[in-house]
Symmetry: C2
Subunit: 294 residues, 2 copies
């Protein structure tokens, strides 16, 4: 009888979370996988390790005996992980990340601060221009994009779905009807030549005769106008952990088919062979994973 160390880890995750589903979430694998692997482990061990129920899994006497050594394995696995981290020649250098202006402003800027704190050798250059940058040609290392790249030379590292919401200044919210329609909203949007940039086309398609009260060709100007109570903006609501005093508040408005959008972390195929790019990519994935859960 041989117990795979990963099965020991799976066992401990079930024991500590109290359920197969909880273990699945912790280990980032499927619940059916947990169910089957635990069954196989019990078969190999020749004993039932948990009593199953709708309220989860409770350790049996046989299972109780495995917990202390499994916990010790986990402790030393933590040590191993830290030893490996210290081996990781701390990547250093510049990594260029591009995203839509709001994503840069709201997420990538504070994220860059967190990265700099954790990895002093890493510097992020955030490219917020709305013009398309060619990752294949190295114009940026990483990109957060609304669409999955069709190019064969790019790869999608991670993706989340995020809610879009309408934000206004508190002062404007006070002046609006309690349950305003989309037509009743004064909009802040892109001016030409950027009027094909989201969310303009989307607003045009769900608001007949769409006519913004304020347009600009610069994102910060648009944001300043919204914060000044001039109008409302549609913003992606990525529930990241960086708290920023937001002077804009969300409105309860139905955006129809545009209620959500996708956000994809994209790079050139071989970009992740560069340690500093890979590290930033990993950190971004972690952030997006946690944002997904909120």
């Amino acid at each position: 009888m041989d117990i795979s160390w990963d099965d020991a880890r799976l066992f401990l995750a079930i024991a500590e979370t109290g359920s197969f589903s909880g273990a699945a979430r912790r280990l980032r694998i499927g619940q059916p996988t947990v169910s089957r692997r635990l069954a196989a482990l019990e078969y190999a061990v020749g004993a039932s390790l948990f009593r199953r129920g709708v309220d989860g899994a409770v350790l049996t006497a046989a299972g109780e005996r495995l917990v202390p050594p499994a916990k010790k394995m986990a402790e030393w696995a933590g040590e191993l992980h830290r030893a490996a981290e210290s081996s990781d020649t701390s990547p250093r250098g510049l990594v260029r990340v591009t995203a839509a202006p709001y994503m840069c402003f709201d997420f990538l800027a504070p994220f860059s601060g967190a990265v700099a704190k954790k990895h002093p050798g890493l510097r992020l250059e955030v490219l917020s221009g709305i013009q398309y940058l060619d990752l294949g040609r190295g114009e940026a290392d990483l990109a957060l994009r609304a669409r999955c790249p069709p190019n064969a030379d790019l790869k999608r590292v991670y993706g989340v779905q995020i809610r879009n919401a309408v934000f206004v200044a508190k002062s404007l919210k006070a002046k609006l009807p309690k349950r305003p329609t989309l037509q009743q909203i004064p909009w802040v949007a892109w001016a030409p030549p950027f009027d094909a940039t989201p969310p303009n086309p989307q607003l045009e398609s769900i608001i007949p005769g769409f006519s913004p009260v304020f347009t600009a060709d610069n994102y910060l100007v648009m944001l300043a106008a919204a914060e000044a109570g001039v109008g409302a903006m549609v913003l992606g609501d990525l529930r990241h952990r960086f708290v920023r005093e937001r002077s804009l508040v969300p409105l309860e408005l139905d955006l129809g088919p545009y209620a959500t959008s996708e956000l994809h972390l994209v790079c050139a195929k071989s970009a992740l062979d560069i340690p500093r790019v890979r590290k930033v990519s990993e950190l971004l994935v972690e952030e997006l994973e946690q944002a997904k859960k909120r």
Copy 2:
């Protein structure tokens, strides 16, 4: 960066054995698998853990740091294993194993002794009759057979290839030419109605006019005759660990296409769901695996 616990185990196996091939043997996986998985681990860790060469693998400084925690994981994995073993409600009861007479005599008898010592609750019944027993109908639980079962209701648990050799008494060897031919050998073989039982058909096909000097319908009688120097016997040479004072010695003779044969551990499909049968099967597999290596 997440390190799979099984990758930690693989890393330690390489560190302790000093080579990918050694780790492969220890973990009972393929050497290409070790090579690839270690490469993937190094990629994830962002550091080289071993310097590779034809003399094996030597730990780098980064690799050195992972060894102590990995060893600790192994220690606790051992504890976990022992805890699991103690959970294993020691199987008890009778298990019937059938094999050819020589295999029973030479291997299964001492094996039964070892099993009884290790698992007092287990009893083996060794069925050495040469007539075919129907595992599907439960006439035996496990069988060691020369052929893989074609039946859909049987399964092959393990298989090894074993050498066949000609054995004689020392006294007979002294009387024989230094390099005897097959024709010059006096044979001990099966009498009717068992003359279709191996090795009779095989000897008949490689020795024109095959005519044994001694036949019997009982294996022990045949063995006694061989030991008395009456003639030679073809025996499977399973290099198991049970030492028995052998009064028969091998002859250097080429048996042509019959130089080796296969040995398969076979049972009914659901037999291994029975704890005692599964335990005996596991122990048999262990023995056959070790015999394979010698």
